[in-house]
């Protein structure tokens, strides 16, 4: 069986739509009969990543590849990049504005949470060019 590849465009114009891609992936994985624990890990990790693409970058592209043994999410944006990844990975560190906080986000828990819920995570970032976050969840 060939691997299933899903592609999404995340736009940053409309905060209310953030999470649509993650929602669709969750629905599809459930339908495919992927174990609930793996579905939940993917959903939470991807949703945090998708929110970051909207609030910290200018949106971007998400590709999700589903293989028989793992789910690979690649979140690619053309945002400002992350200056200090080590700092960004710390729980509680956030550069989010007061506006974002009023929307219920910006507690600085996103990246640590993405790390926690994925079995492998890699961040590739270039200042002024963009960030690509790759997360893998084993099935």
């Amino acid at each position: 069986m060939s691997n299933l590849v899903l592609k999404y465009t995340v736009d940053n114009e409309d905060f209310t739509r953030a999470g649509e891609a993650s929602s669709d992936v969750k629905k599809k994985l459930k339908m495919m009969g992927v174990p609930p624990e793996a579905v939940r890990k993917v959903a939470i990790a991807m949703y945090e990543g998708e929110i970051n693409m909207v609030i910290h970058a200018d949106g971007g592209e998400i590709t999700v590849e589903i293989t028989p043994t793992q789910i690979v999410m690649v979140l690619k944006d053309k945002g400002p990049g992350i200056t200090d990844i080590e700092k960004a990975m710390q729980a509680g560190y956030s550069t989010a504005s007061e506006n974002i906080r009023a929307l219920g986000f910006g507690a600085g828990m996103g990246l640590p949470n993405m790390k926690k819920y994925s079995d492998e995570m890699d961040i590739d970032t270039v200042i002024g060019v963009g960030t690509t976050v790759t997360m893998k969840v084993n099935i």
């Binding site: 209310t16 953030a18 969750k26 945090e48 929307l103 219920g104 986000f105 507690a107």
Partner: protein, 117 residues
């Protein structure tokens, strides 16, 4: 208790998902910060919140939360309710404030559930 019990205890009005009120719930959480719900919640079935935007529904969806109660009489806009309907969630609104709403449910047997470090 069931979702119907939650509705009764919180003196709440159901906005969607009436067909699911006989579902059992054992744990709940209360927060206006979806970031915290995503980071610290595990297996909770009820979310109490004063935040009123579509990301509340999405957060619940990702966390497998089945019942959302907006407190302090907040009523979400129709698009938020539509989203919840589509996801098969129960949404209600209660006149109680956060502290009272949590206290009411806790006193009647709902727990905070397992703590995530």
């Amino acid at each position: 208790m069931t979702i119907a019990d939650v509705k009764r205890l919180l003196n709440a009005e159901i906005l969607c998902g009436k067909e699911y009120v006989s579902k059992d719930v054992h744990t709940a959480c209360g927060s206006d910060l979806m970031s915290d719900v995503l980071a610290f919640v595990k297996d909770q079935s009820v979310l109490l919140t004063g935040l009123c935007n579509p990301q509340v529904i999405r957060t619940a969806e990702m966390m497998d939360i089945i019942c959302i109660c907006f407190i302090r009489g907040k009523k979400p806009e129709e698009n938020i309710i539509e989203l919840a309907k589509d996801r098969g969630l129960v949404v209600m609104t209660s006149p109680l404030r956060m502290f009272e709403a949590c206290g009411e449910l806790y006193a009647n047997g709902l727990s905070g559930g397992e703590l995530l470090e």
